[in-house]
Symmetry: C3
Subunit: 320 residues, 3 copies
């Protein structure tokens, strides 16, 4: 009841006060990283990002992420792009991920901060251009702007050497067998990895952010993560990588997206959501091999490819 | 006359008996691998696949291929996809190739058989999704589902190590000069390579399968193969590779496809079919270089790229 | 006044004399390499190409380029493709670049000349097919046919060894610091690099060719080149590469294209042209990393990708 009235109060404020409206857009941009068009989810995700940055020993990530989201939304506002999409945080969620990814992969420097601003502005242009191009097939651009922009800057570093890459962190423990006791904590770690963090606490916060908007989606996310770990274990994936949740984060996004976009709730739909999660695990493994010669991470590309495939397929079912 | 009446009898049976209809769809799925919508061609191809598997020392290929075609068509039927396309074997021919490719490239294991079923179901979804996407330009998806799915599983093997790759077979003889006496047998070997087999007998069977449906197409296939060998020899291709028919199989598919889709029979059309075959040889060589760092075979990708280009070009000619 | 009457005289001649019309198309094909639909610009570019070939120690380039442009336009004429586009040189400018690129990268031989003719015919088909495909989004194919065709032949060389690659020229001087005195000559070198030449004289001629059609575009080209050098210097690009104009040529094409296609002249448009040039430099660096395992040059791909992005974005602005 209190929650309800607080929400209504905030809604009225955003309609009358322009600063509140802008804050609302910023929070929804955070929320949209996991497809939640809800400022409270966004606020919780923001807290998770700040904490995640601290636990990774890079407190600047929280600030970089906020700067990225603000500059993306300012640019989208100035260019008067689709206003409704802007209000829902559509122009900000890719910037949010860029603001975490670039400081995670690159050393801190003035060049890094310049690159973050450049990259976030670029992500707005890519979002707009891709939405136009994909409109033909009624497909959303998802996190393509984030993936392409981050790859662009990482791939440019060998030639434009002012931006320097962080040496990759050596993962501590090496496991030879997997204990099922780790299944739930590792699945939660997978949720943290959606925002590129390796922290169970951050994972719990992100899960809470999902749950305040939709308990169903929170359950889908966790189930997707558990299923992905199971498939990777069965098919002989490396246990160290599985334990870090690196097979899970794309599967979680696939699960959320397919559950959000599927109108039907029948057996066939459930079957192909499960199938989509299995496919995400294989795509993750395949893209890892493909990107190895270029030394760039797969980011959320597996989720994008699988979701586009499933959404195209789903359309043809609904057309009949 | 007898042939005619047998065909009519079968046609009546497929209309009344559901099992016969399903068998008809299975056979047409085999036929569609070389674009022949004909159950008799399909039956002959099926025999060729079984024999090819035996001659390659892998008798399980025949069974794997049949399992793949059946499961693809069952899934397409359950999801009630385009019924007319289903009847013509459109949802099955990619599965047929997957059912040959995976046991050829991977070691026999329970994981292999699971992967075959997963991959064939996936190929149905990709077929449907790609047909929707490519509809905008009136292009067929050809063998893209086969190529993408096979690459996916092969690329996933280093990470998901339960599925293990076969060590590549060392080709026996190394030739330093080419005898023209080999031109016809090598061209027939090229036809066998469409189904990934290295057996002249299988090649003859597949050629017969083409001929029972259309003598013209059989001649086009053989001529395409001869021409591709000629171009590869002229441009300094490696003779061992040429002799295995590895420059021919894509050229054969290009020749069949362009001959099938071209309505006109004038000089300009003939010229660009020849040009398409030449281009296929170059694309085969270029893709071999591109895929080398990833250690995956080109499969039928050269044929797909060239055919899409030619079909798009052809459309603009017909629009006028 | 004299210029005006000469132009009018030429225009009348092209309407009455078929040979003059064909010469006009050939010249405009040269002009279109930098988007100038003007036979005089084209004539100046032709002179620049011949001189550039001599200064590179490969006088055959001038002839190869002319042969390429002629054969492309003959094929486009025979296949009766879009007549208006043909008259504007749209079917010839990719052939012009192929006619320079192949003799630059490959050793002189009969195979080279065969490949040039094959490649130019192919570029006409690709131009037509891509224009059909890209029509959906009102995007031009730009220099994609040149890039794809050149990559095709370069990638095919390891397998089809009759066409042999030139060993890459070792660049002479290695610089450790950059003198601003070199900024203007290096920017002009960048203009020469659009036609793959490393000659200041050729650069001045190409700049003059731009200026006779549009002084504004010539200034944009030079400014784009200067800006690209500045960005590359700031971000720690290798000075030897910057001095050769290798960060400039794509930026120049981006500047010309965006200035040509943008109808508005406001601050927002200027801002995103500048942003487009910055992005071109980063894309150049990123593609260099991506193409390294395949040992092929980026050619004008960075310009194509950035221009498509900007033109798609621009459309959505104009739609409102």
């Amino acid at each position: 009841m209190k929650m309800q009235s607080a929400r209504q109060h905030w809604h009225e404020l955003t309609n009358t006060n322009r600063l509140c409206q802008f804050i609302d857009v910023i929070l929804r941009s955070y929320g949209q990283v996991m497809l939640q068009n809800n400022p409270l989810s966004g606020l919780i995700f923001l807290v998770g990002v700040i904490l995640g940055g601290y636990s990774a020993g890079k407190p600047q990530i929280g600030l970089a992420c906020l700067l990225a989201v603000i500059s993306a939304n300012v640019v989208a506002y100035l260019y008067q792009l689709n206003h409704k999409a802007w209000q829902q945080g559509i122009y900000g969620f890719n910037a949010c991920l860029i603001g975490i990814a670039l400081p995670t992969f690159c050393e801190n420097s003035l060049y890094l901060w310049c690159s973050i601003v450049l990259a976030t502005i670029l992500s707005v242009f890519i979002t707009q251009a891709f939405n136009t191009i994909l409109q033909q097939w009624c497909l959303p651009c998802l996190t393509t702007p984030f993936v392409l922009t981050t790859w662009l800057f990482l791939l440019a570093t060998p030639s434009l050497s002012a931006l320097t890459l962080q040496p990759p962190a050596t993962s501590g423990a090496q496991f030879s067998s997997y204990s099922l006791l780790h299944l739930v904590p590792d699945s939660i770690l997978g949720i943290a990895e959606v925002f590129l963090f390796n922290s169970t606490l951050a994972g719990i916060i992100f899960l809470a952010g999902l749950a305040v908007n939709s308990l169903k989606i929170a359950i889908y996310a966790l189930a997707g993560s558990v299923l992905a770990i199971g498939i990777a274990l069965l098919y002989g994936g490396q246990i160290t990588i599985i334990s870090l949740g690196l097979y899970s984060f794309n599967a979680i996004l696939t699960a959320i997206t397919l559950a959000t976009f599927s109108s039907n709730q029948d057996v066939k739909t459930s079957f192909y959501i499960v199938f989509g999660i299995i496919l995400t695990v294989f795509t993750q493994a395949a893209l890892t091999t493909l990107l190895k010669p270029f030394a760039i991470p797969v980011l959320t590309m597996p989720f994008i490819l699988v979701s586009w495939l499933w959404l195209s397929f789903n359309q043809t079912l609904n057309q009949r």
